[in-house]
Amino acid sequence: MNCPKCGAPADSPTANFCEECGASLHPPVESSSAPAADACEGCGAGPELVDAAGFCGRCGVERHVAKPRDHLETVVSPSFAGVSDRGHKHHRNEDFLALAGAGDVRVAAVCDGVSNSRDPDTASAAAAPAICETLLAGATAPDANPETLMHAALGRAQSLVKALTNGQPANDAPASTAVAAILQGRSVTVGWLGDSRAYYLNADASASRLLTKDHSWLNEVVDAGVLSLVEAKSRRGAHTVTRTLGGPPADPSKGDDEPTVERVELPGPGFLLLCSDGLWNYVEDPAALAAFLRPGDEADALALARRLVDHARERGGRDNITVIAATIV
């Protein structure tokens, strides 16, 4: 295979990054199953009514001109794939994904740009590939310590995203969540900042679990004993993310937001799922997610990822949706 960016031949059939220019050899691809964007989302008017700035001449809603990033798919192997979709309501896809494998190591990252920051799409697009690159380079080293490596990868991503600020005020700076995983056999090391999640799904739904715990206002006040779960859930802004890549830190006196990193031994065959809140806002219970599994998904992880994304779109697609699925044997 040749590098899609510079054309240089790849080092080996299983290589993930170009040795010449460093670009990913498996960049996300626009899929032919991208949804059509002809009719105006606001009023159904035809594309001839769009003005030069991209707004519908009838109802004023920003016309969605289909962009490649609206629907991305990456397939590293039949048992390791991911999908990222704009959804229906958001004017652009601010999620990004990256996945790669070498030998028996697989690495993956999902990043969800914080909408209320400026240019969140640049934050997520910078972070996800950088995380995977660092993870893969380190994971294949003989004495690799996955937890240390995960901290390093997320730390590097933090610096990268902060550098996007360009001297502008921190409150407005591009920001993104991140959830990343290093998978080797049944051993997975998960690291995260924010409310993008990792799940283990098993055909036996009761064995399925959530592997991460959101860095959200809700969890922080409940953990601190300030409010009960019921009370906290009813508050507006309960799901506000408290730790991110870039953006203002949760506690400026303590420096940048720290990720949580955990190593887990998975109990048996099944799937590792990484996803953004565009999915779990519709289906969050691990058993409910497991109900989407079908026989044959182990050899067609892309089908599983697509199925979950489509479900979120059918339920309304209020947000961008990203799902990465990796078969565990």
Binding site: C43, D51, V61, E62, H91, S115
Partner: protein, 434 residues
């Protein structure tokens, strides 16, 4: 030499989920066209037609005839200032109206003739302003390409039987010419003159002492002579399903243009044209717009309004500048709850003017409690917004106990002219420091 316009929008485009009111301040600046700066230039040589409508009712001759004497001097001195390429006329008004100097070019000969006619004016009769306006309307040319300005001076109230005819006359004159209204002395009514100036896109002011008339007239004429563009409009496009809640001029003074909006020619359902009248080569005016749109979903972005300044020369229309008013729905209260400073400032200035007018009205009818409360709130708002001019005027009517809290006491003795000055100038706003 022509003029170019630029429009700048000040707004917080973020709305909470379900919110549907979009506020924006549009700052429109006219500047001498530099050429080669990419801006559309409009206007050029636009001659002025200026009409003097002078009250010659019986009351103008009272007190030794001082008011009419000074008015005549003021008109004659103003006529002298006219440039030769301008046109002018003089109407003397009482129950009827008499065109003492019909429209003519401001040549030395015509000026001399008019000067003599004005010198001969005598007081007598009542006040029926409808007739003065109708006489003026007939004098102004019908062809486009002229700046059409009138100055109406009175010293008293309009006759009650003229109330309806005056409404009809104003409707007929709307769009035909602009008119500034001035009251000399204290026997006239502020809201009567406001009702004349508002539809005719003009200002109102008091000239307490007749000796001040000459200077005031010269100021008005100088501004009229400086007009470079005869007729500009603010064209507002909104999406289908949206309504324009209001369009108000907020600087240099307040004027509600909402009712003057007319459907645009090309896209009547979605555009409204608000007349702005004549513009000088270098000036800035600001407008507060409010558009009610169909609320979008979180993450959606919408063009809530497109503002353009359109200049017409009668046959052709030129779009001089354009700006966008946006709306983006978000669930981040940190973004949607922020008030844009310009919008907040002018909302406050509007509240200030309203409190002054309501406070003065309460004082007039003897409701001291209401007057104290309203004028106290006005003192607070004026101080907060740094509107020093209004603060000074307020202090002539109330004694300020605590400016921050808005605690005031009505003064026992107030010069009526001071109360009327506060009333007429309540609509003058300050600009926000940028």
């Amino acid at each position: 030499m022509s003029t170019s316009f630029t429009a700048q929008i000040f707004q917080n485009p973020y709305l909470a989920a379900g919110a549907d009111e979009v506020h924006a301040v549009v700052s429109v600046a006219a500047a001498a066209a530099a050429g080669g700066d990419g801006r559309v230039s409009v206007g050029g040589n636009t001659p002025l037609v200026f009409g003097f409508l002078i009250d010659c009712s019986g009351s103008m001759g009272e007190d030794g005839g001082t008011r009419l004497r000074h008015a005549k001097v003021a008109v004659r001195e103003a006529i002298r200032l006219l440039r030769e390429d301008a046109y002018f006329f003089v109407v003397s008004g009482s129950d009827g109206a008499s065109v003492v100097a019909p429209i003519s070019q401001a040549t030395p000969a015509n000026k001399a003739r008019a000067d003599a006619a004005v010198a001969r004016l005598q007081p007598g009769g009542g006040t029926q302003m409808s007739n003065w306006l109708i006489a003026a309307e007939a004098q102004f040319p019908r062809e486009p390409g002229f700046v059409r300005q009138a100055l109406l001076l009175t010293d008293g109230k309009n006759a009650t039987q003229d109330a309806e005819p005056l409404q009809a006359a104003l409707a007929a004159c709307e769009g035909r010419f602009q008119c500034d209204a001035r009251g000399v002395g204290v026997d006239w009514q502020v809201d009567q003159l406001r009702a004349v100036a508002a539809p005719l896109l003009g200002t109102v002011d008091i000239i307490a002492e007749p000796s001040g008339l000459a200077a005031d007239f010269q100021g008005i004429l100088a501004r009229a002579l400086g007009r470079a563009v005869a007729e500009a409009s603010l064209r507002l496009w909104t999406p289908v399903g949206a309504t324009v809640e209001f369009c108000k001029q907020v600087s240099p003074d307040l004027a509600d243009l909402t009712a003057k909006g007319r459907p645009g020619a090309q896209n009547p359902q979605q555009t409204r044209d608000f007349p702005l009248g004549a513009w000088s080569r270098e000036e800035t005016r600001e407008y507060h717009l409010c558009i009610r749109v169909k609320a979008g979903g979180v993450g959606q972005r919408m063009l809530a309004g497109r503002v353009s300044v359109v200049v017409s020369d009668g046959t052709n229309e030129t779009k001089a500048t354009e700006a966008q008013i946006l709306a983006t729905w978000t669930d981040d209260e940190g973004r949607s709850a922020v008030l844009n400073p310009e919008v907040a400032h002018y909302t406050g200035q509007g509240e200030l003017a309203q409190n002054i007018q309501e406070g003065l009205e309460a004082r007039r009818v003897g409701d001291e409690e209401q007057a104290t409360r309203k004028l106290g709130r006005a003192v607070q708002l004026a101080a907060e917004s740094g509107n020093e001019g209004t603060t000074k005027l307020l202090r002539k009517v109330v004694e300020v106990v605590d400016e921050e809290r808005g605690t005031v006491k009505l003064r026992a003795r107030v010069d009526e002219a001071d109360a009327m000055a506060l009333d007429t100038r309540s609509t003058k706003t300050t600009r926000i420091a940028r």
